[in-house]
Point group: C2
Chain length 505, copies 2
């Protein structure tokens, strides 16, 4: 038996076990042969990946050390006695081979794969293999099987609620924080909306990041239920609810390999919403040449897929295809986006109208889930709530109940990006703006981001400011600037003055 | 700038960088956002994956620690000043997305992918993604592109040699160490054969493991050239020649994810052989229901694929489809296999005839690469060399020149597996025998393995020993025994005595 030690190292969701090369119990002859091991302690067995240590000051020959992830999972004190055995590959890995060979996998196979992922029996490499193998083709019943498997053991049950609504946007459009405005409107209307939000993975801000600027989002299930009872609405980080664990493990790998397949997105979103007890879901599918979904055919396929899975799992889905051709709102990055949201809720004169209109449109669809509302009246009901200030009031209550936070400041390093020539802003490249923002630190620092002062269709003179970059530290700032210098994301076409004049006549 | 420290941890080919959570230079706010980093020191930039450390005893806030792999690559002393930047995903990852979407990748794309893999810009996750994405379908020109990319920068040039021959077996058949016998015969004949051999990845012994029982196999290029000049033959580990580095990085990931696609095997083998300067290659493709290649159609496709790639890259290939339905020879595992090889070379009475015949057949094909040899005479020339003792003599010279080693002992833990019933051995399951052997420690310990005392077609009485298991430690021994107890790999059919009697009449 070896003596347990804790090496306080965080390794991004992977369990690592450190053993001395001169281990007193196990012969570590050929390190290439021993990669995945099982660590047994007490009644617990955990899976870990072996790291071989040469230095007894780090790990003694009679010790086995675990990193933060593994130490937390084995849940034993340092000094406990543990043993090790070689772990064979989990049998569900055979299903991945079958998928590579072009087969349709059964519901049982998806269930076994997701169970093994949740039990940390898969390395991140294995998870990447699964994602890529299934990413190239999944039949609709396979997406259903994957969704069911991803839901996991724990679901929130909403007693005394006939319908529980939520909204999810598939992303790819910078800014676009309709969720906060929608939640305020829907809560003011009176439908229960426990908005489970994510932190940024690859964008300038997740909904949870933007809400974090205004309020605490780390809320557990018990408190969430109180909040919904009190205010009908809440915007919380779904991490803190500990739901659909496999979706988070998978998202971590997707981020690292930079590959996110639409069938997996659909399955993950629906699994999370079902686990959260949602019964009625509006899905915003933005379409644009530089958005995540490039064309309406693709959007339509995704819509039908989600409708099919929703129908089979009793989740009512209203999937709406929207214009994702340019950023929505002016701010990109948590602090700037929160500013836009508050402007809209306050009906400020300078509130971004595209954000306001899109939020009203989507909130209207949400309200129409209420059987009592007459068809076609959702938008007007939403508009009345926003215009009357009841949405702002609802948001203030939500913020107070979740716990107000001291608002983070905008980054101190700024740069104004100006137009080289006069003309009309022809287009703004979503993916470029997102990349510049992420490089500037957005997604990581709330105060980093981009304030878009000109939008598509706006007239500009040479020297006018197109957007302002905010960064919190010089490394990020330099990165973002080098990107901007190569291509700033704006296309400006020469103004055709004569034609315009003709049109004005 | 941070101060460089070395943490003596081996992490299976991945570069890891450890930074204190309270790092004095970089703000590690949200560890999920910072995964892949670049470490800059002197004129060198290396890529590494971040591990966040909580304990200043391990890594101080002003330090950056590297594991063995990364410390070796950056090649700076402890105490050197280094800086860190966020690494963006390598652009070639986009090609993987294109492959997932079903596209044919260009030669330039394969070249970029392999360059990035060699530069350690890919995580093991990324490599797994590439292998799985390309594994499901590659066109023949894509396999050609991959092969060319895998060859790498360094190739061995054999001056004053018209042809340089080698042999490679695709594996999946336990035992089967024809390579050592073939090399001895070919060297005795006089053709130059620098056999580049691999250590076991998933089998009970690679050719390099079996040769290691007899001689040193860690030979560099300079010495290899001397050996070939002296003896015409050598059997060396290709790791020690530092050729086609990407093939080794890829093989490591293939082993860990348990997925090995035939197109990748073909590309890797041909790249290694071309990098080693081989001009003429015999490829043994064993076919059997429990072998790696299951049927002749599959074998034929692989043969044509290798012939196509070989033709395009001026490597003459003679791909031979052989019987892989059961193990070849009696010994499985390095020590036992070496014993069989020596028996064949010594023309011992109890030498395994299947191993002898297969080696002669393949050596014959090799010899026919010699333009001076009359067609159809290869087998007889090989047989004459073996029978006359010249092959043994050549092997003894080779062993002496490479450096004789003290032969490792067979494992001390043994078990005789006996027949439950009388009858005829109908079949022996290759993959089961391999798995039992690997679990017993073969591939890791030279002395572990299986000695097959009965082969297919042999008559057995209940209680007769079918095979003997050897293991070097009790953990492995217990593992192998539990496998054997579930299924020992032998199928014994009832002897139909009457029919036999009839035949004898």
């Amino acid at each position: 038996m070896l003596t347990l030690k804790h090496l306080p190292i965080s390794s991004f969701n992977e369990n690592l076990a450190y053993i001395n090369r001169d281990c007193s119990v196990y012969k570590i002859d050929d390190i290439n042969s021993l990669v995945k091991i099982e660590v047994h302690g007490g009644l617990k067995t955990i899976y870990a990946f072996l790291q071989v240590v040469n230095d007894p000051k780090l790990v003694k020959p009679n010790e086995l050390a675990l990193n933060n992830e593994a130490f937390k999972q084995i849940n034993l004190p340092e000094g406990a006695k543990v043993s090790v055995s070689l772990s064979s590959l989990p049998p569900s890995l055979n299903s991945i081979k079958r998928k590579v060979a072009g087969n349709i996998l059964s519901s049982g196979e998806y269930s076994a794969i997701i169970n093994d992922i949740t039990a940390r029996r898969y390395s991140n490499m294995d998870i990447a293999s699964f994602l890529v193998a299934s990413g190239s083709f999944m039949s609709a019943p396979e997406v259903l099987s994957l969704t069911e498997a991803l839901i996991g053991d724990k679901t929130i049950v909403w007693e005394n609620e006939d319908i529980v609504v939520d909204h999810h946007c598939l992303g790819g459009v910078p800014g676009n924080k309709t969720d906060l405005i929608i939640t305020a409107i829907v809560a003011a209307y009176g439908l229960p909306m426990p908005k489970t939000a994510a932190h940024s993975l690859t964008s300038c801000a997740g909904v949870a990041d933007t809400m974090s600027v205004l309020a605490n989002v780390n809320i557990d299930e018990k408190r969430l239920k109180e909040l919904i009872k009190e205010n009908r609405g809440a915007i919380v980080s779904y991490d803190s609810l500990d739901l659909a664990e496999a979706t988070r493990i998978i998202a971590n790998v997707e981020k690292q390999i930079g590959i996110t397949e639409k069938s997996h997105i659909a399955a993950s979103i629906l699994a999370i919403k079902i686990a959260a007890g949602v019964t009625h879901l509006v899905v915003d599918i933005p379409v644009g040449p530089k958005s995540r979904i490039k064309n309406t055919n693709e959007a339509m396929r995704l819509r039908k897929l989600m409708e099919y899975v929703g129908d089979m799992l009793s989740l009512e889905i209203d999937a709406v295809i929207t214009d994702g051709s340019e950023p929505v709102g002016n701010g990109v990055g948590a602090v700037l986006e929160a500013r836009d949201v508050i402007k809209v809720l306050k009906n400020s004169e300078d509130a971004p109208q595209d954000l306001r209109e899109k939020s009203l449109f989507l909130a209207g669809r949400m309200l129409e889930f209420d059987p009592k509302l007459r068809g076609g009246q959702g938008y007007f009901a939403a508009k009345e709530i926003l215009d009357s200030g009841r949405a702002l009031e609802a948001m203030n209550k939500i913020i107070k109940a979740q716990g107000k936070v001291s608002q983070p400041k905008l980054g101190g390093l700024t740069r104004d990006i100006v137009a080289d020539s006069s003309g009309i802003v022809d287009s703004i490249d979503n993916s470029r703006i997102n990349k510049i923002g992420v490089m500037a630190g957005a997604g990581q620092y709330a105060g980093a981001g981009i304030d878009l002062l000109k939008k598509a269709g706006d007239k500009v003179e040479a020297g006018d400011i197109l957007y302002r970059l905010y960064s919190c530290n010089s490394t990020d700032f330099a990165f973002a600037n080098s990107l901007i210098d190569a291509y700033n994301g704006y296309e400006i076409s020469e103004e055709e003055e004569e034609e315009e004049e003709n049109e004005e006549e």
